[in-house]
C-alpha cells in the first residue's frame, strides 16, 4: 500500500491540546509518551524476508516480517508477478500456523494399539532407522510398488518424485480427482496446450462464472480477484454467476442465478444454442480453427434450447437469451470461469467441455481480454530450470491403483489418477500395500467415505506400516505408527510458481523465514537421508550437500541466481510477452527443418512422440502458412474429440465426442420430499486441513451448519437453528462403485436458513468436524484426543468455539467418480433430512 506522505498523520507537528467540538469532558493527548498498549508489533527493528505462501495452493508471494527471530506478520510481496503484493486472510494468518500451540514438534512412535492415541517421543535417528529398515526390505524383495505415497497438495514435487522414482515405486497417490480432474481433462481434450485456463481477467469486459468461487477457494484466488476487480473498476466489466449457493463470488457478481446442481453444462449449451442460431458467433474464427463445422454444431445444439435449460436449471429462458447476447457482444473481451460448481459432478467432464467450447464460438480463445491459458502450470522444469543430474528413471513396476484403467481419461494426458478409490481398492485387496507414507493431507478426514479410509488405515493387515508427516496430530496421523513433525510453509524451501495470470511464466522461491521449530523437518532433508540409508543405488540421486546447494543449481539461469531469489522472492523475464493467440504463431525455419506435412489435414509432424511412439505433431498449415495451432490431435480447437471416444472404447465405455448434457442418473430418479442434494463448499478463511490449526482463522469460521432454503425448511417443519439428522446415500444409479442407494453415514447438525441456497439443496462447508489436533482445530476434543501440551500461548486455554457445530461432511459423501475422468462428484450426494 503506497501512502502519500501527506496522507499520513502529522503527529510530530504537535498541535495544542484542543477540546472536541461537543464532549467538553473529552481529554486530548498532549504528551508524546507512548503508553504501553498503543504500539503493535510491526514497527521498529524489523526485517522482511520474501517467501511464498502455502496456506492454499495459489502460492502468493509474501513478505515475512521478522523481529528478534520471531515471525510477526505476513504481507504481500509486490515483486511477485502473479499476486502483485496482495494476500488473503489465510496468508496473513501465517504466524498462527507457525506458532500453533498444539503443533507436533517431535517424532512420535505409537506404543498402544493403532489409533489408541498412545505415543512415545523418539529421536529422528530412531525414526529414520525404522523407516529405512522397512522400506529397504520392501525394495530388496523386488516389490517397490508396495510402498505407497499418499499426498494431498504438493509443491515439492521435484524432490518427492526424485525419491519415489529412485525407490522405484509407481504407487504415488494424489488428490487431483478430488480437486479438478474434470476441468483439466475438458481443457486438455479441447485446447490441448494447458490444463488450466487463465482468462485475461484484467482486460476483460464480461465474465460468465460457472460455479467457480474465486473470491474464496479457487486456485488462483487473490491473483484472479484483484484482476477482476481492476477490470470492473477500470473497464466496467460485468460478472454473471451461476451457482447453487450464494458464494461470496456470487455475492460480488452483478447477477447471480441460483441453479440446480449439475446443470451448468446445459446452461452453457443453451447459451451456445442462442449464439449459433442467432449468428452471434465468430464464424470466421470457427471456420479457421474449429475441427467441427459450425453449422453441424448448431444442429447438434438444436435440442439444448433455453426452454430446456430453464426447466432443468431454473434460469429463465429469456434471461439465457439475454446473457448469450451480452456475452457475444463483448467478444473477444469476454471469458468464462468454471470450478467445482460446474465440474465436481457425475457429468462434470461434459459440463466443462460445453463451457470451454462456448468460448470458442465467440472467438475469444487466446485473445486479449478473452479465454487464455499458458502452457506452463508452474515454472519451466524442462528447459530453464532443469533438475540437476543424475535424474532417476521412471519406475518400471506397476500400480493397479495409480493406473486405475476403468476411468479412461484419468491418466490420458497427465497422471491425474483416481484418488477417491485408493482406500476402497486397498480394502478390496486389488494391490498389496506394505508401507504407506502420508504427506500433506488428511485422508481420514478429507476423503469421501472417510469411515472406509479410517477402517483401512486402522487395519494392520491392509496397511502394515504407516508413517505420517504433518505439522499437527491430524486424524490420519492418529492412525499412523510413526508421526514425523513437518515444517510449516514458513520453515521450508521450494522452487515454485503457479499458472501465471499475467500470461507470462515466472519463478518464485519459498524459503525458511525462521529456523524450524522443535525438531520439525521437511522432505528436502528427510528424503535424501532416507535414500542414503536405504541405499541400493538410491543415494546417487541425492549428491548435493545441502538444500541450498541444490537450489543454487536450480536457479542458475536467473540473473543474480539463488541470491537474487532469496532477496526478491520472484523473477520474471522482462523480454517475455503474454501468451496471446499461441496457435497463430508461425513456425520458423528451424522448427520446420526435417518436418513433414499431411496433405489432407495439414498437420505438420516431426520426429517421434516419446509417449505414443507416433510422429509428433508440431503445427498445422493454415491458408498456406505453417503455424503452431492447438496442441490437439487435429492441431485445431477440438469441438469434436475422437481421441476421447477412442480412449473410452478401450475400456468399453461410451464417451461422447461432442459436448453434451448428461442428466445425473441418480438425480433423474427424482427426489422424495425429505431428500435434498448435498453440496460442499469452502469458506474464504479455510483450505483443506491446513488452516484449521489457525486460531485466527477458526475464530472467523469454526462451524458448519447446514444451509437450507426457508421454503424447504417450511416444508420439513423446520425453523432457524433446529436440529436435524442428515443421512448421505450412495447413488441409486450410474456407472460408479456400489450404486445401490445405500446409506454412507448420518450426522446431527442444525439448519441455517438462508435465501442464499437452492431450495433442493443442503449446503455444508468442509471446514469443520475434526476430532484431532487440539481444541483449536477440533473444538471440544481436548478431553479425548491426544495433543501435545500447548506451548506458550495464552489463547490456547480460551478457545471460544468449543461448542461449535462440527460435521465431518465426508462421513456423508459417497465415493462417486465421474465415469470418464474419475473426478469425485462432490456436489451430487442425495441426503435424507429429518428433524432431530
Amino acid at each position: 500500500m503506497d501512502l502519500n506522505r501527506r496522507d499520513l498523520l502529522r503527529l510530530g507537528a504537535a498541535a495544542a491540546a484542543s477540546l472536541s467540538a461537543v464532549g467538553c469532558a473529552e481529554l486530548t493527548a498532549t504528551r508524546r509518551a507512548d503508553p504501553a498498549g498503543w504500539a503493535g508489533k510491526s514497527t521498529g527493528a524489523i526485517t522482511r524476508i520474501p517467501t511464498m505462501c502455502q496456506s492454499c495452493t495459489t502460492a502468493c508471494g509474501v513478505l515475512a516480517t521478522i523481529k528478534d527471530g520471531r515471525l510477526l506478520q505476513i504481507v504481500g510481496n509486490p515483486e511477485d508477478p502473479n499476486s502483485r503484493g496482495s494476500v488473503c486472510a489465510k496468508g496473513v494468518a501465517g504466524p498462527s500456523i507457525l506458532y500453533d500451540p498444539f503443533r507436533v514438534l517431535y517424532p512420535l512412535r505409537r506404543v498402544g494399539p493403532r489409533g489408541s492415541g498412545q505415543w512415545r517421543r523418539i529421536t529422528w535417528e530412531e525414526a529414520y532407522a525404522e523407516i529405512a529398515d522397512k522400506l529397504k526390505d520392501i525394495r530388496e524383495r523386488g516389490h517397490p510398488e508396495e510402498f505407497a505415497f499418499q499426498q494431498g497438495r504438493n509443491r515439492s514435487a521435484d524432490i518427492i518424485n526424485r525419491f519415489l522414482d529412485s525407490y522405484g515405486t509407481p504407487s504415488s497417490f494424489n488428490h487431483r480427482a478430488l480437486c479438478s480432474a474434470n476441468r483439466r481433462a475438458a481443457l486438455l481434450a479441447t485446447v490441448g496446450d494447458s490444463d488450466w485456463d487463465l482468462g485475461d481477467y484484467e482486460h476483460t469486459d464480461y465474465i460468465l462464472n460457472f460455479g467457480c468461487n474465486w473470491t474464496e477457494a479457487m486456485q488462483g484466488h487473490i491473483p484472479i480477484v484483484t484482476r477482476i476487480m481492476q477490470a470492473r473498476a477500470n473497464r466496467g466489466a460485468k460478472i454473471v454467476t451461476f451457482e447453487s449457493r450464494l458464494s461470496n463470488t456470487a455475492a460480488v457478481s452483478d447477477e447471480w442465478f441460483c441453479v440446480k446442481p449439475g446443470t451448468d453444462g446445459l446452461i452453457a449449451l443453451a447459451l451456445s444454442h442462442v449464439i449459433c442460431t442467432e449468428g452471434l458467433w465468430n464464424k470466421a474464427w470457427l471456420d479457421r480453427w474449429s475441427n467441427y463445422p459450425a453449422d453441424e454444431y448448431t444442429r447438434h445444439l438444436a435440442p439444448y434450447t433455453p426452454e430446456l435449460a430453464e426447466r432443468e436449471s431454473g434460469v429463465p429462458a429469456d434471461t439465457l437469451r439475454r446473457l448469450a447476447r451480452e456475452f457475444a457482444a463483448k467478444a473477444p473481451r469476454c471469458t468464462t470461469t468454471s470450478g467445482r460448481g460446474s465440474h465436481a459432478h457425475y457429468n462434470g467432464f461434459y459440463n466443462d467441455r460445453a463451457i470451454t467450447v462456448l468460448n470458442a464460438l465467440v472467438g475469444n480463445m487466446g485473445m486479449e481480454g478473452g479465454f487464455c491459458w499458458h502452457p506452463l502450470s508452474t515454472f519451466d522444469t524442462k528447459k530453464q530450470f532443469p533438475e540437476p543430474a543424475p535424474v532417476p528413471p521412471k519406475p518400471t513396476a506397476k500400480s493397479v491403483i495409480a493406473d486405475a484403467k476403468q476411468w479412461p481419461l484419468a491418466n490420458a494426458w497427465n497422471r491425474m489418477k483416481v484418488g477417491e478409490i485408493v482406500y476402497l481398492w486397498i480394502k478390496e485387496r486389488r494391490q498389496k500395500i506394505s508401507a504407506l507414507m502420508t504427506y500433506n493431507t488428511d485422508q481420514a478426514w478429507s476423503w469421501p467415505e472417510m469411515q472406509l479410509v479410517q477402517e483401512v488405515l486402522k487395519d494392520e493387515e491392509l496397511v502394515p506400516f504407516h508413517f505420517c508427516l504433518d505439522v499437527m496430530m491430524s486424524e490420519t496421523a492418529h492412525l499412523a505408527d510413526l508421526v514425523l513433525p513437518w515444517t510449516t510453509w514458513l520453515e521450508r524451501w521450494d522452487i515454485d510458481a503457479r499458472p501465471p495470470l499475467g500470461l507470462i511464466d515466472y519463478v518464485g522461491i519459498r524459503q525458511p523465514v525462521v529456523a524450524p521449530l522443535g525438531e520439525s523437518k521437511d522432505v528436502r532433508e528427510i528424503f535424501p537421508e532416507l535414500a542414503r540409508r536405504i541405499g541400493g543405488g538410491m543415494e546417487q540421486y541425492f549428491p548435493w550437500a545441502s538444500v541450498e546447494e541444490y537450489l543454487e543449481q536450480r536457479y542458475a539461469s536467473v540473473p543474480g541466481g539463488f541470491a537474487f531469489m532469496r532477496q526478491h522472492g520472484a523473477w520474471i523475464d522482462p523480454a517475455k510477452k503474454p501468451n496471446y493467440q499461441p496457435y497463430e504463431r508461425p513456425l520458423d525455419a528451424e522448427e520446420l527443418a526435417g518436418s513433414s506435412t499431411d496433405p489432407q489435414s495439414g498437420v505438420i509432424t516431426k520426429g517421434e512422440d516419446p509417449k505414443t511412439k507416433k510422429p509428433a505433431a508440431i503445427g498445422i498449415v493454415m491458408d498456406g502458412v505453417a503455424v503452431r495451432g492447438f496442441t490437439t490431435p487435429s492441431r485445431k480447437l477440438e469441438v469434436k474429440s475422437e481421441a476421447i471416444v477412442a480412449l473410452g472404447r478401450g475400456v468399453d465405455k461410451v464417451i461422447e465426442p461432442l459436448p453434451v448434457y448428461l442428466p445425473i442418473p441418480d438425480l433423474a430418479q427424482g427426489l422424495a420430499d425429505d431428500q435434498l442434494i448435498m453440496i460442499s463448499f469452502k469458506w474464504n478463511v479455510h483450505n483443506a486441513h491446513r488452516t484449521m490449526q489457525s486460531k485466527w482463522l477458526m475464530e472467523i469460521v469454526s462451524s458448519n451448519p447446514a444451509w437450507m432454503h426457508p421454503r424447504t425448511a417450511k416444508r420439513l417443519g423446520l425453523s432457524q437453528g433446529d436440529w436435524i439428522e442428515v443421512t448421505g446415500h450412495r447413488p441409486r444409479a450410474g456407472d460408479v462403485p456400489r450404486a445401490d442407494g445405500s446409506p454412507v453415514g448420518s450426522q446431527r447438525t442444525r439448519v441455517h436458513l438462508t435465501e442464499g441456497v437452492h431450495p433442493q439443496v443442503l449446503a455444508f462447508s468442509h471446514n469443520a468436524g475434526r476430532w484431532m489436533g487440539g481444541p483449536i482445530a477440533a473444538p471440544g476434543s481436548a478431553a479425548d484426543a491426544w495433543v501435545p501440551a500447548p506451548v506458550g500461548d495464552r489463547d490456547a486455554a480460551r478457545v471460544p468455539w468449543q461448542d461449535a457445530l462440527r460435521v465431518p461432511q465426508n462421513s456423508l459423501i459417497p465415493i462417486y467418480p465421474d465415469p470418464t475422468t474419475g473426478q469425485q462428484a462432490w456436489n451430487d450426494t442425495v441426503v435424507r433430512v429429518r428433524k432431530a
Binding site: L27, P35, K41
Partner: protein, 201 residues
Amino acid sequence: MARLSMLIDLRTCIGCHACSVACKAEFDVPLGTLRNTVKYVENGQAPQALRHFIPVLCNHCEDAPCTRVCPSRAVIRLDGGQVVIDKDRCRGKQECIEACPYGAITLHPDSHKAQKCTLCVHRTEQGQAPACVEACPTKTRIFGDLDDPGSELARRLAATPTVAWREHDGTRPKVRYVDTRGALPLLAEQTMNPRTQKQRR
C-alpha cells in the same frame, strides 16, 4: 490538528478477512475479542438475494461517548483525532465498553484493561498505513486525513457520496463508507463485540 479517518468502499470488498487477521497479528488481539472485523449481512429473496461485506472498526467518533465516561480519564484523543486507551491509566472499570454504541471496545482478558483500535498510530506516525489497510487485497480501505484536501481520502470523499454506520446515534463517526447497495442499515442492530454487562471485579 488532523482528523485521521478511513474510507471503506464496499463496492470492492470481497469479505476475505485479511484485515481482520492482520489486526489480530499486529496486536495479538486475544481470542474472543475483536478490534476490527468484517460483518456479513444478507437481504433480499432469491433470486435477488444479496450478501454484503462490511469491514468495521472503531469509528473514532468526533463526539465519542467513551471519552467522557471513564472514571480514570484513560480514554483520550490523540492529536490526529484517534481515540485510544491510555493503558497506564485504565483501571478496567469498563464504562467505555458500555458507552460505545459500536461495541468497539473490549476488556483484554490478560491485562484486564480496555483495548480498542488505535488506527495503528505506531505505524502511521512512521509513514506506514494501518495494518488492516496494508493487508487489504482489493484496496477497499483508504486511510488519511479528513482535513487534508489533497489526500486521496479527501478526494474520494469529495467525489463519491458516503455514509457512516449508525450516523443517527449522533456520535459523529469518522469512518465513512461508499455503500451503493444500502448495506449499512442492515447492521443497525449489530455491534462489533457484544456489549456485555459490566462485570466489576
